[in-house]
Symmetry: C2
Subunit: 308 residues, 2 copies
């Protein structure tokens, strides 16, 4: 099934307690697209870049069958740039520099061929842009997944709530779930957020795994404890890409299959954090992915006879 | 199999963002003993209290077949008291008051009947006290489990390392594992800590579950997302009690069975946090426990065919 992915294609400059990067390629749609493309060849990108963006990277995306018809290239303008520094715990970070550039007045335009997509992945972007994408669709997709963040809760809550009302799955982290709902308990938080529209919530907990919750059930996938964690940037996007890519490939959006998709997304994210930027995602074999998923299977595998 | 439990029996006064307690009964050995006694009737306590301790609580422990022959009662002295306040995230807390009282010069004395115990549970206490208990044993137990905390790493690292060298299982939280090893990656941290003596490490992550690691394998149990979390005090001790109680009852200390014990410990801890102090542990049926364990089974249950 075809996926439309909306999000940033951008530059990042990152420092973590374990190293630092030059100005490298990042962006939500980049990570989502690369991750989803491991599972389906029907990924269609919507984004905007300047003419400073490396063409060989774009070629690499095309070689992975990622359709760039919806990627606007603005002559004479510069791509979005973000610079950040992670704290020792790797769960929090400071933004050192943000240059919106082409993102400042981004008007997404969906090519005709995108408008009947089966799945829509709204990567982290201004809610008003996400709404403009939804408005251009000819048919309601079978599944709409939203990734967003606290920044939009602080600055554009009204628009964000309009988006939330239109999606099937919302993926946010635990702090954001608490902020959005005003509830500390994630169980209560999930219930309130489901009442805002989505049928499913994925609560991303970084190195502490991810929860999938609907109105009846809960499922938890751990994150894999890793030998080296170099750079968490893009982990959430990579998760989302693996999640929706797996669902699109398996053509099954039941809760049971979403559980598998959460594990697959977690496995994909575990690769991203091992290197800076997209480096690890660009050098992944199917065997690597299978092997990694097996580690997730083993990590939580136990059998128990209930005590008498 | 018989278990000897060493730790505090004490008073706590607790405030959390969701409520506050009066001066109530707490202490590591109390939580461990109550939790373990759900699985075996051969729990033997070693601790010290003053004559201010409520006798009806002690009667309650005896009714649960917890042997108090090793519990010293010091006439004219007061029991250990701790007062603390949890922050909003419930993962960190401030100590408001600590009154060592009887704990200041605690000399543990093992009754003869304890000295050939099968399992030894060293609850959180000064390492020098834990060493004195080990020294009084007539035979080396089949399994020695150590619970400790950062306080002893800061103040008594040399003694603590002596204890660590003598145990089979060490249970600490993720920050403590990082502090003890000097490694950020929990995989690397575990490897260094295993090199200090223990064959197994349990890394407790509070609301984010627990990891069991030996030199070959890793296992993860989530914590159960709860409707209400009232008071985390004693959760780690309750975990340890369920862990060792389950192992003692099943007479099996293989890695496979320890995985089950980690789930059982996590299930027991999920009860403790629902109320202040020991209240929930004192009002638990076997059916409650079975039902709770089933929720843990369901929470991580998925099947996946590896992607092709």
């Amino acid at each position: 099934m075809s996926i439309v992915v909306v999000g940033t294609v951008a530059f990042d400059k990152i420092s973590t307690p374990f190293g630092k990067s030059d100005k490298i390629v990042g962006g939500a749609a980049t990570f989502i697209g690369l991750s989803a493309s491991q599972f389906t060849d029907r990924v269609n990108l919507v984004s905007v870049i300047g003419d400073d963006f490396p063409t060989d990277f774009l070629e690499g995306l095309k070689q992975r069958n990622i359709n760039l018809d919806g990627l606007q290239i603005k002559p004479g303008e510069k791509s979005f740039f973000w610079e950040g520094k992670y704290h020792y715990d790797m769960n929090s970070r400071d933004t050192l520099d943000t240059q919106l550039n082409v993102l400042a007045d981004f008007e997404p335009v969906l090519p005709e061929s995108y408008k009947d997509c089966d799945f829509l992945m709204l990567g982290n972007l201004a809610p008003v842009v996400q709404l403009k994408v939804i408005d251009q669709l000819a048919v309601r997709p079978k599944l709409v997944v939203l990734d967003t963040m606290n920044f939009w809760m602080d600055s554009a809550m009204d628009d964000l709530k309009k988006v939330i009302a239109k999606v099937d799955v919302i993926a946010i982290n635990d702090e954001e779930a608490r902020q959005l709902s005003g509830e500390y308990s994630l169980v209560r938080a999930a219930r309130k957020i489901l009442a805002m529209g989505p049928k499913y919530i994925v609560i991303k907990k970084g190195e502490n795994g991810a929860l999938l919750i609907d109105d009846k059930s809960m499922f938890f996938s751990p994150a894999l404890p890793l030998e080296d964690v170099m750079d968490p940037t893009g982990a959430g996007d990579t998760f989302a890409g693996g999640f929706i890519g797996y669902l699109a490939n398996s053509r099954d959006i039941s809760f049971e299959n979403m559980k598998r998709a959460v594990v697959v997304g977690s496995a994909m994210a575990s690769f991203t954090v091992e290197k800076f930027g997209t480096e690890r995602l660009l050098n992944l074999s199917e065997a690597d992915i299978d092997e990694r998923i097996q580690l997730f299977v083993d990590l939580v595998d136990f059998d128990i006879l209930l005590v008498d």
